[in-house]
């Protein structure tokens, strides 16, 4: 059984009458790179803030490394995070800022500071004060802080904000390497869906504080893959007919839709096959969408 790093059950947060999070259930296992997808105000940052203790939950519960509430205490030290914008002391250099937090965390091996700076390519900034950093440099320092002290779980809110394309790629490679080599678990939110898609292996799609879907990368691929979608009266019978005719590359979605991924199957042939088999077809269309389209369709379904 996989070790659970973070689990929320019915996690809710309200600000007056505004419901920022509405009974969110999610489970992150050790080794996951878990992507949070959602529009502005969807509740991505709120989840991260509650988990890290920056905001109080209004309802529900969560466990971190299987500990909750008061038990959390020292487990927090196993987290590295960057939430909202990076925040550092403007009059200190990159190294001094990291040193401040290293002392706070009781890190005795100061070489970790240099390693973290090196990992985000900030080891050559010398005595430049934080206030003089560019947006990208600030972001990278935030990530260096999160990386310091070998965390088991990294929580990163929009980590690629302000980074150039090369920086984004380097960061993605770094996350994937740390995930593969050091088994660091990641919770990452991003507006840039294509980027998140390339990094994460599990996803949670949120909108207005509610979970729309939790799915793996394979499930997401499947949902977005080009196919023939069939809405039929008797899906079970339709599936049997497909297999009897040598079509095995298909999936039944939510028990009411049949998706055929075999590109050699023509819509006319499929329609005839089902009709002759006595299955009434109510709709047949070509499906297969981009990540953005899939996200939009989920939001539309909810609103519809």
């Amino acid at each position: 059984m996989r070790e659970t790093v973070l689990q929320t059950k019915g996690l809710s947060k309200s600000y007056g009458s505004f419901q920022a999070l509405d009974h969110v259930d999610l489970t992150i296992y050790k080794g996951d790179i878990y992507g949070l997808i959602g529009r502005n105000g969807a509740g991505k940052t709120t989840i991260m803030k509650i988990v890290t203790g920056l905001a109080e939950k209004s309802g529900g519960e969560f466990t971190l490394f299987s500990k909750r509430g008061e038990e959390l205490g020292n487990e927090k030290r196993r987290i590295g995070c960057l939430i909202e914008n990076p925040a550092f002391f403007s009059g200190l250099t990159a190294r001094q800022n990291l040193m401040y937090y290293a002392i706070q965390k009781g890190i005795t091996d100061k070489s970790q500071i240099d390693k973290a700076l090196e990992m985000v390519h900030l080891s050559d900034v010398g005595n430049k004060k934080y206030r003089k950093f560019s947006l990208g440099m600030k972001q990278r320092l935030g990530i260096a802080l999160a990386l310091m002290d070998h965390p088991d779980f990294m929580i990163l809110d929009e980590p690629i904000n302000g980074l150039d394309p090369i920086g984004i790629k380097e960061l993605r490679d770094t996350f994937q390497r740390l995930n593969a080599e050091e088994e660091i678990t990641f919770l990452i939110s991003s507006h840039i869906l294509s980027e998140l898609y390339m990094t994460a292996n599990r996803f949670l799609i949120l909108d207005r504080g509610r979970v729309l879907k939790e799915l793996t990368k394979e499930e997401l691929d499947l949902a977005c893959m080009r196919c023939l979608a069939v809405h039929a009266g008797d899906i079970g019978k339709a599936a049997v007919l497909l297999e009897q005719n040598g079509i095995f590359d298909y999936k039944v979605i939510d028990g009411k839709e049949l998706r055929v991924y075999d590109e050699t199957v023509q819509p006319e042939r499929l329609n005839r096959l089902l009709l002759e088999g006595g299955v009434a077809v109510s709709a047949m269309f070509e499906a297969g969408i981009s990540l953005e389209e899939y996200f939009t369709s989920l939001v539309d379904q909810k609103e519809g």
Binding site: K76, E84, F89, L92, Y100
Partner: protein, 283 residues
């Protein structure tokens, strides 16, 4: 908690504000020593602040009839040096409420800077919990304020001894004893400021409240005691008066009562700061 305090020391010695505070303190002491006169930044009180209060140390005229107010600092110093000697260091320590304005720098750098720059979220999200954060900041501000108090005392003592001679100085044991006696009200000042820093969090708001607070509180205290016709003894527990009286020869009952008042102030402002901070969302 110890790590938090160590980290804050690491940061505060790299902050310009703390050096500015020390520079201001040295400047104030230099003026006191040079003019042989204790300066007071608080509200002028009409309360008996101790056994030396009746002694009017400021001459109205010089020997040749010139008005003292028209003299330059140098001439004023010469006039004062010709007067009978007294313990200038003790008088300066009686005006230690001045340090409140320097303590503002400490609380601002230690606490408000964390909130204004949002750096507090780094600490709270992966280093320690809110209770430990609050306590370590409280302790840190108090430690810094105590350090400033002792630096103030000994710089004053040795500076005065060097510039004005033993004629205007008491002894090292006496200034140390006074400083120790004044610790509770000074810790109360540090506690009030830390409480404010957690209550108001943003630097600008904290400064806007903390800077006028002590004077407003003094005026309000006087006003209320006048309106409610409180006995004069009540005024002895106002912080400025307390600091002045503790620099003299306080009676044991007064000492105990004033320390209880100081403890109460620390608890009151500490509780206000904690209640405001413990559940607030960190931005």
């Amino acid at each position: 908690m110890l790590n938090m305090i160590k980290a804050d020391f690491y940061r505060i010695v790299r902050s310009k504000a703390i050096y500015l505070a020390v520079a201001l303190m040295l400047m104030m002491l230099a003026v006191d020593i040079y003019t042989v006169e204790a300066g007071n930044l608080g509200v002028q009180l009409s309360v008996d602040t101790g056994d030396n209060a009746e002694r009017n140390r400021e001459p109205m005229q010089t020997d040749d009839g010139a008005q003292i107010s028209s003299l330059s600092m140098k001439d004023y110093r010469n006039v004062k040096l010709k007067m009978p000697g007294y313990a200038l260091d003790q008088d300066v320590l009686a005006c230690n409420l001045n340090l409140y304005y320097l303590f503002i720098f400490v609380a601002a750098v230690a606490v408000s800077a964390d909130f204004s720059g949002s750096c507090v979220k780094n600490t709270l999200s992966f280093a320690i919990d809110r209770r430990k954060y609050f306590l370590s900041k409280f302790l840190f501000v108090m430690l810094c304020c105590v350090a400033l108090l002792f630096v103030n005392t000994y710089v004053m003592y040795f500076g005065n001894l060097l510039c004005n001679g033993s004629h205007f100085a008491s002894d090292l044991g006496n200034v140390t004893r006074i400083t120790l006696l004044q610790l509770p009200p000074m810790l109360a000042l540090a506690g009030i400021l830390t409480g404010f820093a957690f209550l108001f969090r943003r630097m600008a708001v904290f400064n806007a409240v903390a800077i006028p607070f002590i004077m407003v509180a003094q005026v309000l205290f006087h006003f209320l005691s006048f309106v409610l016709k409180l006995p004069e003894e009540t005024m002895y527990y106002e912080l400025q008066v307390m600091i002045a009286r503790l620099s003299m020869e306080p009676s044991r009952p007064y000492l105990l009562k004033s320390y209880v008042v100081c403890g109460g102030l620390i608890l009151l402002f500490g509780a206000a700061g904690w209640l405001s901070f413990r559940k607030t969302e960190i931005r």
